[in-house]
Amino acid sequence: MSPEPLSAETPLLSIRNLAVAFHQGGRTSTAVDGVSFDIRRGEVVALVGESGSGKSVTANSILKLLPYPAASYPAGEILFKGKDLLRALDADLRKVRGNDITMIFQEPMTSLNPLHPIERQIGEILELHQGLKGEAARKRVLELLHQVGIREPEKRLAAYPHELSGGQRQRVMIAMALANRPELLIADEPTTALDVTVQAQILALLKGLKDEHGMSMLFITHDLGIVRKIADRVCVMTKGKIVETGPTAEVFANPQHAYTKHLLASEPRGRPPTSDPSRPTVIEGKDVKVWFPIRAGFLRRTVDHVKAVDGIDLTLRAGQTLGIVGESGSGKTTLGLALTRLIGSKGRIAFLGQDIAGFGHGEMRPLRRRMQVVFQDPYGSLSPRMPITDIIGEGLGVHEPGLSAGERDKRVAAALEEVGLEPATRWRYPHEFSGGQRQRIAIARAMVLKPAFVMLDEPTSALDMSVQAQVVDLLRDLQAKHDLAYLFISHDLKVVRALANDIIVMRFGKVVEHGPTERIVTAPAEDYTRALMAAAFNIEAVPTGQIQQ
């Protein structure tokens, strides 16, 4: 099954006028509406759009992986080498799945079976489609693991998914997808769950493999930076339709459709406030440490510590933003939780001049009002059983119990208006809002108490690009209006650059580099910072060893 010579005329996969409908509770909604595009041999096509645009539904339809009969195809055909997959028998479809067309998914943890070691996961596919067993299968598995850049693959054969890092898991997923030398690889947001540095490595790997094997790729993503880096052609999708398609360079240079222009213009913009050392300090940490004990032996004695945060000094002033950046596992969220006293820590933490390091639950309660948190996941951070007015008003009930129902309602409405939502929507439940609107609600919940300090824990990373930009603008406006101090935790350096005037780069719980944002971004002093910046802004992989795999 060596790749056939490329011929530009006959597309490998051709989707014609595809429509996908979902039936639920007697209602029918159309998720994909008349989508057509081709993928030629050796070509990388990117399907770009925001969540809910129908891009994943389109991709899953190719291998018929949607929940049937809830999903159905009122119209269209998917031709793979001239054969219509939509009308193929299940048995024929199974021969195509995992063999001619393979898929890699967004979440590498849940896509691998946690109970099977790596060798078995990959070996299963080899056995199924090629009948390889025993020594021959092992040889091929090693070859594949080597190809996807897993170091010392012999030692990794018996490893279980939980023993691998996120990047390694995604590499194993890719190895599984490559096992049968597919002609088409569908990658559904393969790097969204990964750190920027790992993302750059995976993209470089996919590009290399594509060139090596001459396979085609359908790349689904919402990240335009990735599209620019990897795709030959791009299809822009919104509301179930493809609104623009063309060669990547052309679309980026000269977008035609309004939606494409909107997408391209939606990178976080603007500049943070300038550092001003004369402003009063809001929160100050001296030698902050969070060590989790590792206990072992019969008596559970502490033998060692996981040093999640290991001696961090920081100062945050009113009206300023301190960005904390680093890869996952660097301890940045733990640092934020320690500063807000949501977990225990050692070292001095001064909030508005008061040392709060030893404060318990009761002592902290009056201070909570001036110290608020906005969490990452706008879906998880709002109770699904409470209407918005109760969610936002909950803090008022704790900190201003004297407020009458009418006054409280007025405050809630004002807070919603401040974050750009219609106050009348306060009677609704969270599930009626989109991700960006939910994050606005979470921000309103923090703002209604008029805090001095807000810890923002990756507030934009679960959102679509254009929504991210809006939320960043909103945060900046609120900061200017209320003289807020932000602790902005993120792995997304583009967002940090737009919001933070100072940056702390963290790794293994320690500060790698600390300084004004522009200096750190443009002229990093440390190798690690340099690698991080290259990966974030140019999606460039750096030599392994420099960063975690």
Binding site: G52, R368, S381, H399, A424, R426, G435
Partner: protein, 381 residues
């Protein structure tokens, strides 16, 4: 995949909370979609409602009586017998003397069945247990009365619709009262153990650590005790009764809820909206009540009908063994025991069997429908 909900300029309609919240409305729709469970619930509610009015359906006192121009309500008020010229502290309206006295000076309206659960029928045609009246000829069924088939008292209300047990008590009346006490006992036990079990599970799951560890070990020891034997021993020491039995069984039945509630709290205490509430400074009790309990209630409510039927079965089996309710109380278990020792009187065993199986089946059907209604993944087509 999340779909973006476009918000129209919203109506300012006040929010629907509590039972009328959208989530609960959807659950009610799902519940109704399960026809079997829905109808089972109605049938059960009607039967239970009727049995709550048992005093007005099966009683040995008239509902209303007129005596010498005075309106009497014997079903709710105890009148001493001297009022009618007798000498007992409580009037026996079924005795020939009182009956004739009242009928001579007024009238009486009887409930459809003129027996309470403890009333002994002194006019049975032959030695107890006697068969349902419709299995006998008119002469035979009235042969216990002085006037034979022509006796004015040999009427439908005085006949034993489902026969009598071995102490000449009306089976129909005992069945109605027995059904009521079974369901009431089951409900009381279920609610009490839900309250104890949910609180214990909530505390364990929310605080975790040593609290969880110690309570979990305690529960393991506690639940490994041979419950039935302990019940038998305690029942032999304490005077048996409704509340004593309830208390004893509560000691062990709350454990069943702890597992699900604890697991639910353990899972949900790290939800971001719980962390968010903590960051707002909301107290532990409020977080548990407002944010975590609704999660755990799904598991608990799904469990309830099954616990209810389990409690009823336990009470019945204790009664069957003779360690349950005090002698003379109406009880389905005792009726089964009678059926076992009087195989020549199949109406005893059959009645108890039919009532038990109908009651338990209805509860299980309701339970199934509840479980489906609370399942967020369940779709009805």
């Amino acid at each position: 995949m999340a779909t973006t909900t476009a918000l129209s300029p919203a109506d300012a309609s006040p929010v629907r909370r509590g039972l009328r919240s959208p989530v609960n409305q959807r659950r009610w729709q799902n519940f109704r979609a399960n026809r079997r469970g829905y109808w089972s619930l109605w049938i059960f509610l009607v039967l239970f409602g009727l049995s709550l009015c048992a005093e007005f359906i099966a009683n040995d006192r008239p509902l209303v009586a007129s005596y010498k121009g005075e309106m009497l309500f014997p079903v709710v008020i105890d009148y001493p017998e001297e009022k009618f010229g007798g000498f007992l502290a409580q009037t026996d309206y079924r005795s020939d003397f009182i009956r004739d006295e009242i009928n001579a000076n007024g009238w009486m309206i009887w409930p459809p069945i003129r027996y309470s659960y403890g009333t002994v029928n002194s006019n049975i045609p032959h030695s107890a247990p006697t068969a349902p009246f419709w299995l006998m000829s008119k002469e035979e069924r009235c042969s216990g009365y002085a006037g034979g088939a022509e006796d004015p008292n040999c009427v439908l209300g005085n006949l034993n619709w489902l026969g009598t047990d071995d102490q000449a008590r009306d089976v129909m009346a005992r069945m109605i009262y027995g059904f009521r006490i079974s369901v009431l006992f089951g409900l009381a036990l279920t609610i009490a153990s839900a309250i104890v079990g949910v609180s214990a599970g909530a505390v364990q799951g929310y605080f975790g650590g040593w609290t969880d560890l110690l309570m979990q070990r305690f529960i393991e020891i506690w639940s490994s005790m041979p419950v039935l034997y302990i019940l038998l021993i305690i029942a032999a020491i304490l005077p048996p009764g409704f509340f004593v039995l309830l208390g004893i069984m509560l000691l062990f039945s709350w454990v069943g809820f702890v597992g699900v509630v604890r697991a639910e709290f353990l899972r949900a205490r790290n939800f971001e909206y719980v962390n968010a509430a903590r960051a707002l400074g909301v107290g532990n009790a409020t977080i548990m009540w407002r944010h975590l309990l609704p999660n755990a209630m799904v598991a608990t409510l799904t469990f309830l009908p099954f616990i209810l039927s389990g409690s009823i079965t336990t009470l019945t089996s204790l009664d069957f063994l003779g360690f349950g309710m005090p002698p003379g109380s109406p009880s389905l278990g005792e009726m089964i025991a009678q059926g076992k020792s009087n195989l020549q009187a199949p109406w005893l065993g059959l009645t108890a069997f039919v009532v038990m199986s109908v009651m338990l089946s209805l509860l299980i059907f309701v339970g199934e429908a509840t479980r489906d209604a609370f399942d967020p993944r369940k779709t009805f087509r």
